[in-house]
């Protein structure tokens, strides 16, 4: 078969594209594009709402964490002096133990207990003050030393309190002995 037909088509190719698309087809396409865009926008709005809520939550959480951190101790003693840090931990646990011991007299002698406890509480407030000042302190080492001294004093006071209680108990025991022996 000859190639004449193929050649004819090739040289008249343009004339084969003579149909015109119907009028108004673009408007139909545009409408559909608009619809798709609206769906997209609606999805974006919904997404941005979720993002906003998430962002708000993040801000609240961050603020909370920062607040707690600041409230606790913005600076650690061990970050100023690791040795002092160790001491602080040791002392703090000693104080806690002694306070527990002291608590035993709460029922027997509530008045005395309140007196003893308020003394320690006063010292502890001082300690907290020092702790809060530590970050802005011009001489952190001095502040740390003061804190440690405070803890040492607390221990001393607690020891004295405990000795007093022991003495009282002994006196009480002696009294019961005496009354018993009579």
């Amino acid at each position: 078969m000859s190639e004449k037909f193929e050649k004819f088509i090739r040289s008249n190719r343009r004339e084969f594209d003579e149909c015109e698309p119907p009028v108004g087809l673009w408007e139909r396409i545009e409408q559909q594009l608009d619809k798709k865009q609206q769906v997209k926008k609606a999805r974006m709005v919904r997404l941005s709402f979720v993002v906003r809520v998430a962002a708000a939550l993040l801000v609240v959480l961050t603020a909370g964490v920062l607040f707690l951190k600041h409230g606790n101790n913005s600076i650690d003693i061990s970050s100023v002096s690791p040795e002092m840090g160790k001491l602080q931990v040791q002392y703090a646990s000693m104080i806690e133990d002694k306070q527990q011991e002291l608590k035993r007299i709460e029922k027997e002698d509530p008045q005395l207990y309140r007196e003893f406890a308020s003394e320690i509480a006063k010292m502890d407030t001082n300690y907290q003050k020092l702790q809060n000042d530590l970050a802005t302190s011009p001489n952190r080492e001095e502040t740390v030393k003061a804190m440690i001294r405070n803890l040492q004093t607390q221990i001393d006071v607690l020891n004295q309190q405990l000795t007093i209680i022991q003495q009282i108990n002994q006196i009480k025991k002696g009294q019961t002995h005496e009354t018993q022996s009579i």
Binding site: D17, C19, P21, R28
Partner: protein
């Protein structure tokens, strides 16, 4: 690479880039969501694309539906178009695929069942067309009158410029079937043209 060769190579590449798509920037604007760019591309390509759809589905209303669907789809997917070919070629692919699946929806048998190989056909010179004076309108009409399967293969091959390998891929048939269909379609078309009394010199 020697300097001269390099510069020639670069020159060739630049030329190629210019040749590749004169509407490159229009497509970029389209990707950014410019409605004006959408319309410009529609104006540039709608006619050619409509004719492609027309030749495959052979119905004006359906071709319009295919075109609408194809443009909406193309604009929605334009972000995926990496512009390695021209917008025209990319768009044409979409239109052809949409037209074919439209035909399939109509449940038309694209390929008749009796499927003799090309080799089995006698080498036929009866349709020596040296004397035929082809006319566009008659040929167009003749193509429209061909059976569905013939019309599609003949159009894809002769007018859309796909080779048999590509047609096989598009229609999910073998390359050989595509060749056979084309030969038969062409012969049938010649017969029709003769019946219609194509003028001889």
């Amino acid at each position: 690479m020697p300097k001269i060769v390099t510069s020639l190579y670069l020159k060739a590449r630049n030329l190629e880039a210019v040749y590749v798509d004169q509407h490159y920037n229009l497509v970029v604007e389209c990707k950014q969501g410019s409605r004006k760019a959408h319309y410009e591309l529609y104006k540039l390509y709608s006619k050619a694309m409509f004719n492609i759809a027309m030749r495959i589905v052979n119905h004006e209303g359906e071709a319009a539906d295919v075109l609408q669907d194809a443009f909406v789809d193309a604009f929605a997917r334009i972000g995926d178009f990496r512009q390695e070919t021209t917008f025209g070629l990319w768009m044409k692919q979409i239109v052809v695929n949409k037209s074919i699946s439209h035909l399939r929806k109509r449940k038309m048998e694209l390929i008749p069942i009796d499927d003799t190989d090309v080799e089995d056909l006698p080498d036929d010179d009866r349709y020596d067309d040296a004397e035929i004076q082809y006319q566009v309108q008659q040929v167009k009409r003749g193509i429209q009158l061909l059976p569905e399967g013939y019309r599609v293969v003949l159009s894809l091959y002769l007018l859309e410029g796909y080779d048999h390998e590509e047609i096989a891929h598009i229609l999910k048939i073998s390359e050989n079937t595509s060749r056979t269909q084309f030969m038969r379609a062409k012969r049938k078309l010649m017969e029709q043209l003769k019946m219609q009394g194509v003028k001889y010199n």
